[in-house]
Symmetry: D3
Subunit: 138 residues, 6 copies
């Protein structure tokens, strides 16, 4: 199995809360992350694809293409944005890292498959201490 | 000269804009950072103090004390906050890294001097590619 | 599959040796790590759990809970300690990274399972060049 | 499952191109990497082996041995070399990260197996943003 | 004093040698870096400028401008190039980090001064273990 | 001014305490670092020298020479050692980072001067959050 990964970064604001919770309940469950005035992160995104090595190019996928897909489908929609308010693919979802990485997966899976390879894993760092990894239904 | 540095981190939302500018002018000057819905960062803060080494403890300053001062004077006010809306010492200031590092200096200089040492330098990373350093009026 | 990881750190002293070996044999097998006067490391610990995403919180596990479990079961017992002399769960074991990561797994598996999720992987860095990963009996 | 990883580094020059392509075609497919005058990288190599923990040493493999194998079979042949011109095990192959990591796998698999353990994964960073992982025929 | 720094990266090939030296002498002085077939690095470049904070923008310099200057004057000429053969501002100079950082200084000093600020320091990493810093005639 | 820096690393055990203090007083002043059974760190050492660039080699100092000096004068004495018990140049000194960096300075200053350059700065990381810098009597 050959895997290739591209790292990209984006900066965004978000807030963790449920509208039906009281402020106290939001604070209890989500801590400082429930601050109504938002906070934000430098997110690091690692997109990993798998596939055979093309004997002509030596590539699983040309990283220029992978990087362009990530830019168009994810970064242009997330970078310097408010995840709760402005990101169509996060509409109606809690802005947790888990939900965000699954939504990014949905954005990337089909365009990457059209290049003849397979989205294998997405890793998303919220801070240097906290990150999630999603492998789809694998 | 002996310098000792403590690294701390905080996550915050901010926005760069001038209220008297048009949205177009704000976008021209501040780019994506002017987004009215905020964005955010994982800030890294390096606080450096200078002073003689205490022969009894081998310390310039006990890092527990330095860390407590940074927490009380800076992190408790900035971490998981909106820099434009919620941080008293940034009131009325553009939320740039330059203005933020100078405001942090003002918060820390006097409490650190009371410990018998001197605030020497503050370094503030906004992203892995962009950081500011402030040395006071030195 | 959704995985979430929390990084924690601890500083500890240790020594690699077998009491029944001669000093020469210990030196031959364990090199400088056999020094009878100890040496130490800044260990980095990455604890990864797997589970479904709770639709109410958007979390696999609340990281405050995961961090507390790691602190109580591992860090309080290892941080600023001598692994050979002071850590009950390493009693009678060679203080290698492999043995340490398995012992940490035993400390964490049950308390994490009680939170309704599953310990998936523990990664332990001894230095920036050397690390082990343990996945249990998976 | 227990995995242990050793990181090593090497600096090398390379070029991505196909001799039968025109310069324009090489530029279109390989971009700046096709520069006929070469460019280079600080490669980071993570070699991961799996196996049972030896109860006598507490080791899957003595890292001195693993490090020596990597040095003899890989680093001595790649470090400060031109991958296209000077590396026998890359002869006739496009010098992509994918081809390089597979060739390194072939160099390491047998010598590591002779130590009673199994080569599990090789991860090769070309830059901080781009890396490949190879797991053999697993 | 306020300093602001922008990090940029480039990948290049080079070789350390003196044409009038014998191969043996080149090897003795420059070691593996004298390999006639080149080797290369992922260089990291930190460009630091100093100046007063503009009260209207909160900036010492708009990082978009600084980044553009570095791109036009340095990266476009160095990235994915052979430093010995293709970089006009290194013509006739030994391709050491010291000479390279001084040549980059000469490229950047005047364009940065035209923006009303002052080039303060350039830091150039050749590897994670080796770097140079140049402060001009300061 | 031209500065060149070499990074080296060592792993060591230490303890912060004063023999004339009671255990309670040691705990109050030095916290967990006073543990009588030792703890340890992966220290990172950055040695910076200044000097003119030799026009023949393009070097301030050949890093092979600088690295050898650091190895002989510092690493061979500190790596995998107990700083309190085994390091002659720390005899009778509290094993704080401040005292350690000054002692390392004394080890390196003269041998580096004999190479025709000047020791400019030593930076010593105890953890990723805590480091000291020493500039001699500059």
């Amino acid at each position: 199995m050959m895997l290739i990964t591209r790292r990209e970064r984006f900066n965004a604001a978000h807030r963790l809360f449920r509208p039906e919770y009281s402020p106290e309940k939001n604070l209890e469950v989500f801590g400082k992350c429930s601050n109504p005035n938002w906070h934000g992160h430098n997110y690091e995104l690692y997109v990993t694809v798998s596939g055979p090595v093309n004997p002509e190019t030596g590539f699983v996928i040309n990283l220029k293409i992978l990087s362009r897909i990530i830019r168009e489908k994810v970064l242009d929609k997330l970078d310097h944005k408010n995840i709760n308010l402005e990101v169509s693919f996060m509409k109606g979802k809690l802005a947790s890292s888990e939900n965000l990485v699954m939504a990014i997966w949905e954005q990337l899976e089909e365009p990457i498959r059209r290049e003849g390879v397979r989205l294998h894993r997405i890793k998303l760092y919220e801070t240097e201490n906290n990150f999630v990894e999603y492998l789809g239904d694998n």
